[in-house]
Symmetry: C2
């Protein structure tokens, strides 16, 4: 494994430093020190080749995306990112691949103040395990469980672009560059998540599709949601596709958006308006259970059932 | 992936709770609170099927070992374990396999006060990514870098059993149960690591073999080590094998021992003796670089060169 140790060193040299790092890569473990009066927000995800990404995905994009999807979890909690541990399993010691991966990873890490403090590399089928730690004021994290009947439902950005791009790739169609970028270089909504602390009653990032992820909020909060399909924000590309095919799934059930879906009590709507968070109201929390999507005349879209399993 | 979500729930239900856990499995991330005046010690490792373990390894043993090898990293730092995040990649949703894995994991986790607070499961080639966080008093962690000329070198337990067991399995020989247990259910030396805080000048766990891992201490400390081969503690089985084959490699360069190798300044030897840590003196730190292994007449064992790459 000597060649992998070289790669690990090559990679660690690319890692930006950060606050609270007492000992980084090179010992049995990293030593970190959190500021006083902060809770730790921790997430670990593995991306597997052929399942979460195409084996021939551009490694620079993959380095970006591996970090982005984990940062998106911190954004959904309203946490400020701090430290990362990365475990790379690679079929061979390919320095060119790794160097490109590190460029994509590092660019995003620097932008959000994430320090890579440890991890390992080993040989095997390509997969990427990434653990992130973020910081949040005690008791202030955004949870999935805080939504209450009467709360308004919002999303950041636009939905469906990544799903449309993925569908194009799967059918070997030419995919527009801007659309592809939404799939391959998602931007985690960290600033938005931080700004929503104290305003939103519940929050989740949209990785499995709006209906499924809003469903998680409903489940954990013990309530129902009604979404106005027409209000769900979309790009011109997704709108054109919707007009052409009449298929709501990329917009409502597509994965990989990494936008935030959150709920806001009525008394906090003014605070949301002055927070600077760009978002769109799409519906309302009600008593009951499950997610109902309705058209402009209030009729439930029949094809919404089973969307949980589309992704 | 609905079946995998079921498995995740099944697994999280088996996870023991622990101190400082404000929010465990079930949201976008876990929320943890460290006690005041503690540094965090963090490690992430991936075990890949066919590389770090045999694909048909008993899942209960594998659950134990995945946690044990990571706990061993915390032991080497003198840290007290706190929280774990587990990411399991499985070729199929095999509840019997996972249930047995969870039994092995949980038994060890309960014994050492580790709370499983998050992670994920997904489908793919079998691998296990595990992230652990431990706690240590500020500035008191045991590092690889503190050894100085004149320090004595010690190891806990006996070395070589796991390597001998692995060699037997690789050659399809019948392997004695006690030997196999050393390979498949290693016991992380957490109590020993904690007891060595303030006594040892440097410490590492032996995962790649004594010569390689002591070499890491030398490299990070900027010094050399001389080891008396005859003094390296071994079981009757390893001694018998050594007498029979004259091959020092299982003892000196075998991996998977998960004993601690540490250095102690002369003025701390009395404190070590009264610490209750069961260990054996095997050599001394000198000025220079590299690890030299000598026989009883002081001659360097010639075959030691290249042992770094045996594992």
């Amino acid at each position: 494994m000597a060649e992998f140790e070289l790669i690990a060193r090559h990679f660690s040299a690319l890692a930006p430093g950060g606050a609270g790092v007492r000992l980084g890569v090179g010992d049995d473990a990293a030593i970190l020190e959190a500021p006083a009066h902060r809770q730790l927000v921790m997430t670990l995800d593995t991306l597997v080749s052929g399942r979460h990404f195409f084996p021939d995905t551009d490694p620079e994009n993959l380095g970006h995306k591996a970090l982005a999807v984990n940062l998106s979890d911190l954004a959904a909690m309203g946490a400020e990112p701090a430290w990362a541990l990365l475990s790379l399993t690679l079929p061979e010691a390919d320095e060119a691949w790794l160097s490109a991966f590190a460029v994509g990873f590092r660019e995003l890490a620097l932008r959000h103040g994430v320090a890579l403090v440890g991890g390992d590399t080993c040989r095997g089928p390509l997969s990427i395990a990434l653990q992130l730690t973020g910081l949040v004021e005690p008791g202030r994290a955004l949870l999935r469980s805080g939504a209450r009947p009467g709360d308004r439902i919002f999303v950041t950005g636009t939905l469906g672009d990544a799903a449309l791009a993925l569908e194009g790739l799967l059918h070997s169609r030419k995919v527009d560059g801007a659309l592809l970028r939404r799939l391959e270089r998602p931007e985690p909504r960290l600033a938005e998540g931080r700004a929503l602390v104290g305003i939103a009653s519940a929050c989740i990032d949209i990785s499995d599709g709006l209906v499924a992820d809003l469903g998680h909020i409903c489940e954990r909060s013990g309530c129902a949601a009604v979404v106005q399909a027409a209000r769900v924000p979309r790009s011109a590309a997704v709108e054109a596709d919707l007009q052409e095919r009449g298929d709501w799934r990329p917009l409502l059930a597509g994965g990989d958006d990494y936008e935030l879906c959150f709920t806001v009590p009525r008394q906090n709507i003014k605070a949301l308006e002055s927070s600077g968070v760009r978002c769109t109201a799409i519906g309302e929390i009600r008593a009951g259970s499950g997610v109902k999507v309705v058209d402009e005349s209030g009729r439930e879209l029949p094809s919404m059932h089973g969307y949980d399993h589309f992704a």
